[in-house]
């Protein structure tokens, strides 16, 4: 099953070289997603010498696997944030996100990025849960001075009494947008290094240092914009990794409702329409079925795509199912992203993460905050999102739940607990954990009967990885590191690859 996102398929990105020598810059940014590239452009505009190091290609991480929707609403909800914080916090979150949309629109216009940016509405509704949720959300949004209204006219197959209507939200092609930012950045003298995997990063002496296997980048400041910090970091106990699935379809007759439609029921899908190939709407995307990374309840991940496809077929006149992909997001314990210094004692080292599935907007907010912090400028949103905040009461419920879940995953690591007893039990296309001479191995048998074996012990904090049969990857159920079949790191906090192992057929 091909699980490349539609944005990846249609983009024609420029290529950038790998880091080929030691360099010194003002700021090094690790990760060329929307957070890293937004900060990079802002810092380059300010005249700073900036280098961006990307382990793969620009925008190839979560940004290129998002659904291209830009909106003010947030997960879990504004009322959740209001219950844990205060009125002012909700105001900052709502207005920083609103301003992020305006920023993206200005950027697209000024830099003439052809990413099919368009303003369009957002509808939030509940079909089965209590109407009170929608009423309370509406009340909190009004308190935060966000222009919303109720509507009974949702241009979408939905069984809800009323929906919250958010005018003037937006959609775009996130990959093309990032490619545009990268172009602007390099035109302003910035350097991008693709296929440049940082294996060690931190503050050193009075500055920062990022190292690849061969070269070093010295900088006055560093931003780690990798969705979750690389290596071991407290944020990994506070922001839990989840994967969600997207199915994109074309509809008969080209009749696409223009909007972003969020069913807030537990397990409800988020649907949106996009102009991918043309300037007019030509694709429906439905996202949902999220679960903790590496903890799919169904061993066959195809199950999740099938459920979404079945929903699409039931509700729309489908011409064709075009694309399917999945993406990772991190859910912050207290409901707010972590944006700011890497830790309480950090002086020049910054991180961002915990965006839930609202990362295109939050990433833009983060990029702007971090650019200001690096320059020593005041930022009106920085305090609210401060990554070093201590919010035990607001965080306790989710943090305890998620970390007990992690302990449970460690407890499953027992001698004799494996997916397959023998390598010969693996059918072509199957993968799983096998114990050989007391060592747990992650073994995949490809369609040509070739075996691919690596250690099953995650190199981050030593959980046992699980096979993801849709993306043919090894996913860590504890903190969300993901590895390719050859053991190389795809995403998440792990830095080192899973070591290769030999197995006998």
């Amino acid at each position: 099953m091909n699980t490349e996102s539609v944005w990846e398929k249609v983009s024609k990105p420029a290529s950038y070289p790998a880091l080929g020598q030691d360099i010194s810059v003002d700021v090094v940014i690790i990760g060329a997603g929307i957070t890293g590239m937004t900060a990079a452009v802002e810092l380059a505009k300010a005249g700073l010498k900036v280098a961006v190091a990307e382990a793969r290609r620009v925008g190839d991480g979560t940004t290129g696997y998002s659904t291209g929707n830009l909106y003010i609403p947030v997960q879990p909800s504004f009322q959740n944030i209001r219950s844990k914080f205060d009125k002012e916090t909700v105001h900052v979150v709502a207005h920083s996100r609103k301003e992020a949309l305006d920023y993206i629109e200005r950027t697209v216009t000024e830099q003439a990025i052809d990413c099919h940016f368009s303003r369009r509405p957002d509808y939030m509704f509940a079909e089965n849960t209590c109407e009170d949720f929608i009423a309370k959300e509406f009340e909190v949004l009004q308190e935060a001075e966000i222009a919303v209204e109720y509507t009974q006219n949702v241009p979408f197959p939905v069984n809800a009494k009323r929906a919250i209507f958010f005018p003037n939200q937006a959609r775009f092609n996130p990959k093309t947008y990032i490619d545009g930012l990268a172009k602007t950045f390099t035109e302003k003298g910035g350097q991008i290094f693709e296929n440049t995997e940082i294996i060690e990063a931190g503050e050193k002496d009075k500055g920062c240092q990022a190292r690849t296997a061969r070269h070093t980048i010295n900088a006055r400041a560093m931003i780690m914009a990798t969705h979750t910090p690389k290596g071991i970091h407290l944020m990994q106990m506070l922001a839990a990794p989840y994967r969600s699935y997207v199915v994109a379809a074309s509809l008969k007759g080209g009749r696409y409702p223009d909007g972003h439609f969020w069913n807030t029921d537990p397990g409800g899908y988020v649907s949106s329409t996009h102009a991918v190939y043309n300037k007019t709407l030509d694709m429906l995307m439905v996202a949902g079925e999220h679960h903790k990374t590496g903890q799919a309840a169904h061993a066959d991940v195809e199950h999740y795509y099938k459920k979404i496809e079945s929903y699409i077929h039931k509700n729309f006149d489908v011409e064709a199912i075009l694309h399917r992909w999945s993406a990772q997001h991190y859910q912050a314990a207290d409901g707010l992203p972590y944006i700011g210094r890497a830790h309480r004692h950090a002086k020049h080292f910054y991180v961002a993460g915990g965006y839930f599935a609202d990362g295109l907007t939050y990433g833009t907010v983060a990029g702007r905050i971090l650019a200001d912090l690096v320059q020593g400028k005041d930022n009106p949103w920085a305090k609210t999102y401060d990554s070093t905040r201590f919010t035990p009461v607001a965080s306790a419920g989710k943090a305890i739940k998620e970390n007990i879940n992690v302990l449970g995953e460690y407890l499953r690591d027992f001698p004799g607990n494996h997916d397959f007893s023998r390598v010969s039990d693996l059918k072509p296309g199957e993968g799983g954990v096998i114990e050989v001479h007391g060592e747990k191995l992650a073994v995949y048998r490809d369609e040509k009967q070739m075996l691919h074996a690596v250690s099953a012990v995650c190199t981050h904090l030593k959980c046992i990885v699980q096979f993801n049969n849709a993306e043919k990857s090894w996913d860590c159920p504890c903190h969300g590191s993901r590895f390719a079949l050859d053991g190389s790191v795809l995403e998440g906090p792990a830095i080192q690859p899973l070591p290769a192992r030999r197995v006998e057929t």
């Binding site: 302990l407 001698p415 012990v457």
Partner: protein, 114 residues
Amino acid sequence: MIAAAILFFALAALIGATMLGYLLKGKHIPKGLAMLHGPLAVVGLVLLVVYSLLAPQGAWIPIAIFIAAALGGLLLFFKDLTGKAPKWLGVVHGVVAVAGFLMLLLFAYHLTSG
């Protein structure tokens, strides 16, 4: 209560010996074992402390040794989780814990014989 403490420590010791085997062979230590080993030993230690607080004669020497072993165990667990646990530390932890266990058996013997 002493008998229960001995039982918990014995179970912890059995699992600990298994884990030490993995460590000395340079293999990944199954974390499920560590998650059982630690709590079993903690329950044993708590039982021993409660007994010592209530009884006229406390098992304070075994308790002191077990606390030292527990600190070593915590360090070992942290080192194992975040990198590579030193084999020597595993051996020292094991030796100290066994010393504590022997002292506890001796204490129990004196109780029953005296």
